[in-house]
């Protein structure tokens, strides 16, 4: 209770995880909206325009909550992590500053036009706004990922005389190889989230026999994009991410897989419970050689175990890291199966009638959120005990003059506000879904 670091970490982790529930849909939906806009332009068919309009309303509500939950993230660098900001601000200040300048202005300027501007300013401006939001939100994602990548794998910096980190090679920092891989993996995961949400609404309308035309569009675009994205998340992006971790964070990889002893023909653990006290994995189901292959490209390569690494460099919460990683990978695999089956049914023309499958698709949408959260937990727990990998430990980065009581207080404040926000968000989203993809100035049909 009295350890301030615990509360600083909990607060940042909680607010970040909660915040990220919204931008992932924002970024994924932005792609869908642009896609629907392009289809509307190509086909001159108003049903795509109606579909785009429906998702824009959802997008607007989602975006607003994303913005207001994102503001605390910016502030917390200074309020909770003052020593980290002082030490690393010379480097990460660049990307955080760029995000404001290049992404936030773009998004905020065009958001109003996207949500309210169609009737007043015409389709051209509206299409432009859709593209602007797509580019803006994906740019925003890059600047945040580049900042995170610097914490995971610092590049392009130098250490000044006073110990602070300063920019040495701007492009080396901005185009950090870790950032490029993490960005692709993360953005495609955001598309997976959006495709499951779009599919779920399509399945819901189909099951209810409502909005048949729109339901068909949602189902078709949802499952096709969903299958492509689910596969890309695993390969090549997830695979590349894994190799990055293997190369630069061996302790993290060993903990993710619950691996204690080094050796070749390293096993992939499908199931098992890490027993940290006894340094072993209980009740495992394992496939030999697969981890070696995934990490280094050959079945007999040596993969380090935790025993070979000094324990003060181990991630402190191995169990949570192990389970987060396995939940992410497990769900990712299931996504490919679900979407693959759905595309197969779609191709055979059976999807609208396969009610059991529609139920599955309707109820599956929370799981990508769980997978992305688990993925971020894997990345950030795996980075521990480092705040800046190899350079600065997490416990040295917090605001040392802020008392833990203050952090407890503000954490509880966030918990309260976020619960209220969550209810309001769900209420508004459910209203939109109940109203359906018809313009609001037309009366709601059954």
């Amino acid at each position: 209770m009295s350890d301030p670091i615990f509360w600083h970490r909990l607060q940042f982790g909680f607010t970040a995880a909660y915040h990220y529930l919204f931008p992932q849909l924002t970024m994924g939906l932005a792609l869908f909206i642009v896609l629907l806009k392009v289809l509307a332009r190509r086909t001159h068919d108003d049903k795509y325009q109606d579909a785009a309009r429906f998702w824009i309303r959802i997008f607007g509500i989602n975006f607003a909550v994303g913005v207001v939950t994102g503001i605390p993230m910016e502030f917390q660098f200074g309020t909770n992590w003052a020593q980290f900001s002082t030490r690393a601000g010379g480097v990460i200040g660049q990307t955080l500053g760029m995000e404001g300048m290049f992404a936030f202005f773009l998004e905020s300027s065009f958001l109003g036009l996207l949500i309210w501007g169609e009737e007043k300013f015409g389709r051209k401006i509206h299409d432009l706004a859709a593209w602007a939001l797509f580019v803006g939100s994906w740019l925003s994602g890059y600047f945040i990922i580049a900042t995170n990548a610097f914490m995971q794998h610092p590049t392009g910096y130098e250490v000044a005389a006073d110990g602070s980190l300063q920019i040495a090679n701007f492009l080396g920092f901005l185009l950090n190889p870790w950032a490029l891989v993490e960005y692709m993996h993360n953005m495609i995961a955001a598309v997976v989230t959006a495709s499951f949400v779009v599919t779920a609404v399509g399945a819901y309308y189909t099951l209810r026999n409502a909005h048949a035309e729109q339901a068909k569009i949602f189902l078709r675009t949802g499952v096709i994009v969903g299958l492509v994205a689910s596969m890309l998340v695993a390969f090549p992006t997830g695979d590349r991410q894994g190799k990055m971790v293997a190369e630069h964070q061996p302790a993290s990889l060993a903990a993710m897989e619950g691996r204690w002893n080094s050796g070749s023909w390293a096993e992939m653990n499908i199931i098992g419970q890490p027993d940290v006290a006894r340094r072993r994995l209980d009740n495992p189901i394992r496939i030999p050689g697969v981890l070696s292959f995934i990490a280094y490209g050959s079945f007999d390569s040596n993969v380090k175990g935790l025993s070979e690494i000094p324990s003060d460099q181990w991630p402190p919460n191995i169990e949570l890291l192990y389970y987060s990683f396995h939940i992410m990978v497990g769900l990712g695999t299931i996504f490919i199966a679900i979407m693959g089956l759905a595309v197969l049914l779609l191709w055979r023309g059976l999807l609208p009638h396969a009610r059991w499958m529609l139920w599955v698709l309707m109820l599956a949408f929370p799981f990508p959120y769980i997978a992305t959260t688990a993925g971020w937990m894997t990345a950030e727990l795996g980075r521990q005990p480092w705040l800046l990998y190899g350079l600065m430990r997490t416990r040295d980065g917090a605001s040392h003059l802020v008392h833990s009581g203050e952090t407890v207080f503000t954490s509880l404040g966030f918990a309260g506000i976020f619960v209220v926000l969550g209810f309001l968000f769900l209420y508004l989203i459910m209203r939109e879904i109940a109203h359906g993809p018809i313009p609001h100035n037309r009366p709601a049909a059954s």
Binding site: V68, G78, T79
Partner: protein, 348 residues
């Protein structure tokens, strides 16, 4: 280079004050100038295209501060810990009140969000004004470059100080009145009908009050931090700033008396801009003054990142800044003309 970045950050903060100032003002006056739902939607419609972009100046200004002077950001934000979270939570409430209100056509829903919107719009300028007052007064920075102060102590300006004392509260009230006036002039210019009439009527007394409080705040500043005015002779930019805010104030009155509301609104913007510029010129190079020992103050010179970092940031800053301005010009052209009382179902 440090000096240039000091001014770039100051410019962004000043633009933030001018831009978000008018939508704060509109929020403060929301209940007074707009009586029914269509009038309230008119007020929200007038600021709707802007408020989010206006707020980005705060985030972008904070980003520039982080980029150039991370020590100032780290010391200031962690030192004002609880006050910062009040600002954050109020920003959250204000943001969702504007965005959520329009989604449900229900009287109680809208009455509730109107209240939240006005409440947050009143609280934020007071908090931000008090923050400005704290910067001018100084905070108990120690030799490590950090501090942590309580919300209030004895309400005096001598140590141990709190975030709120008679001076910082005075600054909070001054900023509140100033942005209320700014918002009234914006609405008087941008709207027509009853909202325009009421905004027009309330603006002149507010302008008088703003000018009077401006005088009081200046005298109070001279008492709390006399060193500031000692800089005046060698700070030409302070004279330029003073000239701008005096001309702005003249335009505020002249514009209103002649019924030229755009001129009055621009004058009010110049007043805010000039006042902040003059203040920045007077405190330069100090960014966060120590009330314990002036040698421990954080300045543009001892809190900046490396020369190379500043030069790198400059490159993209000068690319991004005109683009941001271009968005605002584009929006202003798109939304030119007066905002009418809104029929239902369209816009905010």
């Amino acid at each position: 280079m440090e000096m240039l970045w000091f001014w770039l950050v100051s410019v962004m903060v000043a633009i933030y004050a001018v831009m978000d100032g008018f939508d704060f003002g509109a929020g403060i006056l929301h209940h007074f100038v707009a009586r029914d739902d269509s009038e309230r939607r008119q007020v929200l419609g007038a600021i709707g295209p802007w408020w989010d972009g206006n707020e980005v100046w705060l985030l972008a200004g904070g980003g520039s501060l982080f980029l150039a002077f991370p020590k100032v950001l780290a010391a200031g934000f962690s030192g004002y810990y609880l006050a910062m979270f009040m600002v954050v939570w109020t920003l959250i409430l204000r943001g969702i009140s504007i965005e959520f209100r329009s989604h449900v056509e229900d009287r109680m829903w809208r009455v509730f969000w109107d209240f939240v919107f006005s409440f947050a719009s009143v609280l934020l300028p007071i908090l931000l004004g008090a923050a400005l007052g704290n910067v001018v007064r100084g905070v108990p920075l120690d030799e490590t470059g950090y501090f942590n102060i309580p919300l209030f102590t004895h309400f005096g300006t001598h140590n141990p100080v709190g975030i709120l004392d008679w001076y910082t509260v005075l600054m909070g009230v001054f900023v509140l009145v100033t942005v209320t006036n700014h918002g009234a002039l914006f609405l008087a210019w941008k709207t027509e009908g009853a909202v325009h009439e009421r905004s027009h009527r309330i603006a002149l007394p507010l302008s008088v009050l703003t000018a009077a409080l401006g005088g009081v705040a200046t005298l109070a500043t001279a008492k709390v931090n006399p060193a500031i005015f000692a800089h005046l002779p060698e700070a030409p930019l302070a004279w330029v700033g003073s000239l701008i805010f005096l001309l702005g104030l003249a335009a505020v009155f002249w514009g209103q008396l002649r019924g030229r509301h755009l001129l009055a609104f621009i004058g009010s913007g110049a007043f805010i801009l000039g006042l902040l510029a003059a203040t920045a010129a007077c405190v330069f190079p100090v960014m966060l003054g120590s009330s314990l020992d002036p040698a421990w103050s954080l300045t543009a010179y001892n809190a900046s990142v490396s020369e190379h970092g500043l030069a790198t940031g400059l490159k993209w800053w000068f690319l991004g800044f005109p683009i941001a301005i271009a968005y605002f010009v584009f929006l202003f052209r798109l939304h030119r003309g007066k905002v009418k009382p809104a029929p239902d179902g369209q816009g905010y």
